[in-house]
């Protein structure tokens, strides 16, 4: 299941991370790397870049876990670090050529692509969105960030996040008239259009 927000480390693993215990580091990687990879690949649309994000994040984790205020903060810290690394790559002109292109097909569909046809459609539709829009959608709806947090992350306003979210869903549903609403950016209007299968 996608998302780090629902991923937990055992308290033993988290405490081991703080102590720099290699077994705990390996366990944290085993638990956190797949959702982290899912997040990074869906935001960046590139498997190589996503692996770089995972690598940089875990190298940082190994070096800095000892400075965490509490063991419970480990997952949140890892997620925030990975998000920062994703954002850094979105902003890097050097990387933009890799990110802007269409998401690469999974090398081994049986291993990576969702078996559900609807989810495969969703992956494809997501890959066609602008990278910033993908990131806003993922952070808001999968990772549970607020619009305020997303706006701050991008150095923009809360409205930026809401409009990106609305625009993204407008494209995903084929309803370009989706408009901003009060709490989550939607007062969904009644236009018709080809919907992404869900």
């Amino acid at each position: 299941m996608a998302g780090l927000s629902s991923t937990l480390l055992t308290s033993e693993t988290a405490r081991g991370l703080k102590r720099g215990d290699p077994a705990a580091q390996a366990e944290a990687y085993r638990v956190l790397a797949p959702p982290l990879m899912g997040m990074a690949q869906r935001i960046l649309g590139d498997r190589g870049l996503a692996e770089e994000v995972v690598q940089d994040t875990f190298v940082s984790m190994i070096e800095r876990a000892g400075s965490l205020r509490s063991a419970e903060a480990a997952v949140g810290w890892v997620r925030q670090t990975a998000v920062n690394h994703c954002l850094m790559r979105l902003r890097s002109p050097w990387q933009q050529r890799r990110i802007a292109g269409p998401m690469r097909e999974a090398a081994d569909p049986s291993q990576e692509a969702p078996r559900d046809e609807n989810l495969r459609d969703l992956e494809r539709a997501l890959a066609r969105l602008a990278p910033e829009t993908r990131m806003v959608i993922w952070l808001h709806d999968v990772e549970g960030y607020t619009h305020r947090e997303i706006g701050r992350l991008f150095g923009r306003t809360e409205s930026f996040s809401k409009s990106q979210l609305a625009r993204g869903y407008g494209k995903l549903t084929g309803k370009e008239t989706v408009t901003g609403g009060e709490d989550d950016g939607f007062a969904t209007t009644a236009s018709v259009g080809p919907a992404c299968a869900t």
Binding site: M1, A2, M37, G38, F58, E63, W94
Partner: protein, 178 residues
């Protein structure tokens, strides 16, 4: 007279701005959200963990090893100043004058570090700046001491000055050539 039947998907709802909403459209977006959360995790390359361990081992003993000492030092400082309780209860303390000055310098340098011609050199600087930014994220939840915060802002400014210098040197070179 109130219509007590349950709403149907196709029922129009008039928004305050006059736009019309239907429950089926709303439901479609809710369905997309559920589907996003249902997307499977992705396994990284089986050798990635090995590469991570190698990279971590190859890096110079840096902040990760020094930080416990830095934390201990800042704790001692905080106790001495009698502000430990307030710091823990109220989150990060206000910026010192030195940190404020570094932030201002950083803001002034921002325009010189954007829209730079992309190449491995500038990308390396941008990675390092972003790495510092990810460490500075610890300021917001009070994980970093003032001393560590100041050190990171200082590092950020130094990197940005270097990046700006690269840009200036390139511009000078281009002017000389053309």
């Amino acid at each position: 007279m109130t219509d007590s039947r349950p709403p149907r998907a196709s029922d129009p709802l008039v928004q305050p701005d006059g736009k019309v909403t239907t429950l089926d459209a709303r439901g479609e977006i809710d369905g997309l959200r559920r589907s996003l959360r249902a997307l499977p995790d992705i396994e990284p390359d089986p050798e990635l963990w090995e590469r991570i361990q190698e990279q971590a081992a190859a890096r110079p003993k840096g902040m990760g090893q020094r930080l416990p000492l830095a934390v201990a030092a800042s704790l001692l400082l905080a106790v001495t100043a009698g502000i430990l309780g307030a710091n823990l209860l109220q989150g990060p303390p206000a910026d010192s004058a030195a940190i404020r000055a570094l932030k201002e310098r950083s803001m002034k340098l921002e325009p010189f570090t954007r829209n730079i011609h992309a190449d491995p050199v500038t990308a390396a600087f941008q990675y390092r700046i972003a790495d510092v930014d990810s460490q500075l994220a610890g300021v917001t939840d009070g994980r970093l001491s003032q001393a560590e915060t100041q050190r990171l802002w200082g590092r950020r400014v130094a990197l940005m000055e270097s990046l700006a210098e690269v840009r200036r040197a390139r511009a000078a070179l281009q002017a000389a050539v053309y």
